[in-house]
């Protein structure tokens, strides 16, 4: 241990919901996108799943809203160090989209694409089983553009850069293909509980 002279830090808080190296952002919700926030109206938004699926399909705003509503209530964790507790996102579970396109048995990974061109790679198993959502509401109101509105991916058990803003689609693959931050030194999976921040962690 390399103790820093004269450093005591904030009062210790025992919070079992806080992954290692994270702090509670409380009311803050920092915006960290590296690109320009797009001017994207719901009417111009679409979401497509293709690649290793039986039936590639594209949903527009109305068609996606016709799927069964679902919500995520819980915590989110950003690789830059903040965590945010008790958030509520409203949208549709990715499982509902997958039940339409039917992933092939050979599909193991996915690349999430944004309408801006941003990408993030994820194991398919992190996107199924009620652990990932396409959301358009935050706290009961429309998701703000700088937070990914009109609609974003939410995969809350991974660092939040995986939860691509302005989500445009998923391409299912039989291999892992690094996305935007992953090609810039970030970890392929990004599990906050194992502190998988950077490649090599």
């Amino acid at each position: 241990m390399n103790v820093t002279r004269g450093f005591s830090g904030r009062p210790r808080v025992h919070n079992p919901g806080l992954p290692p190296g994270q702090y509670d952002a409380r009311d803050d919700w920092p915006v960290l996108s590296a690109e320009v926030t797009p001017d994207l109206a719901p009417a111009d938004w679409s979401f497509r799943i293709d690649g290793l699926v039986e039936h590639p399909h594209t949903w527009d705003w109305d068609a996606s809203h016709a799927l069964p509503a679902a919500a995520y209530e819980g915590d989110i964790h950003c690789v830059t160090g903040w965590s945010k507790f008790g958030v509520r996102f409203g949208g549709v579970s990715l499982d509902a989209f997958f039940s339409v396109v039917r992933p092939l048995a050979s599909a193991t990974h996915a690349v999430a694409r944004s309408h801006t061109g941003y990408t993030a790679n994820l194991p398919l198993s992190d996107l199924t089983g009620g652990r990932a959502w396409i959301v358009w509401e935050y706290g009961g109101a429309p998701l703000p553009p700088e937070h990914g509105g009109p609609a974003r991916l939410v995969v809350p058990h991974l660092y939040f850069w995986k939860s691509a803003k302005w989500i445009a689609g998923l391409t299912l693959l039989d291999h892992d293909e690094p996305g935007f931050w992953e090609r810039n030194g970030y970890h392929a999976r990004g599990n906050p509980w194992q502190e998988q921040r950077y490649s090599g962690d």
Partner: protein, 251 residues
Amino acid sequence: MTETTTPPTGFAVPGRIAVDAQTAAAWQTATLTEIRRETPRAATFRLAVPRWAGHLPGQHLMLRLTAPDGYVAQRHYSIASAPDDSGHIELTLDRVPDGEVSGWFHAVARPGDTIEVRGPLSGFFAWPGDRPALLLGAGSGVVPLMSMIRHHRARGLTVPLRMLVSARSPEELIYAAELGAETTPVFTRSAPLGVPVGRMTAAHVAPLLAEQPAHGWEAYVCGTNAFAEHASRLLVAAGQPPERIRIERFG
């Protein structure tokens, strides 16, 4: 239902720069060698990092402080210094009210203290000096941009480089004495006699895009999210392609 989709915008992400995973993964001990006051709120901390593998202007690092009971606080900070192979790097930190880490740097740190760093990190907000660059910063958002300007000068680069930097007042303008003809300051609260006071506007951005080089600018924007949203909208409105705007937001 349509089976094709055309993204309305394109974030082409030119010029990614590979980051050495082994370098980024390793924590190294850094020794504080010098503290320089920049403004009433900001100071520069010079660190000796003997095994520092070098960085590109614009990159950041992760830094951690450890308490006697093992408690660790870690933060990301932009690197202010140019890559110069001296085994030293510099960080310029604002003193954040109640800042756990910046408070230690401003109130406790002195030369000889050791901390730990890992990096450099992220290859996206980086400028290797290979293309014309237009830099827009506010407050301590000038820090990674200054690394680019210092690199440009140190290497005697001729590729065009221009900066618009916003500060509350001349006293709050970080690196004021070091800024040259490449920089246009914008003052939001108070300014020298004859200089207008107000936020960055289209009138500041338009002349820079009017005189853009043959293949256009690569734009780098750094500051708070509010500044980044404002500045990036000014750039897009003035004709800068969105896919050639790289943004680093505080958070």
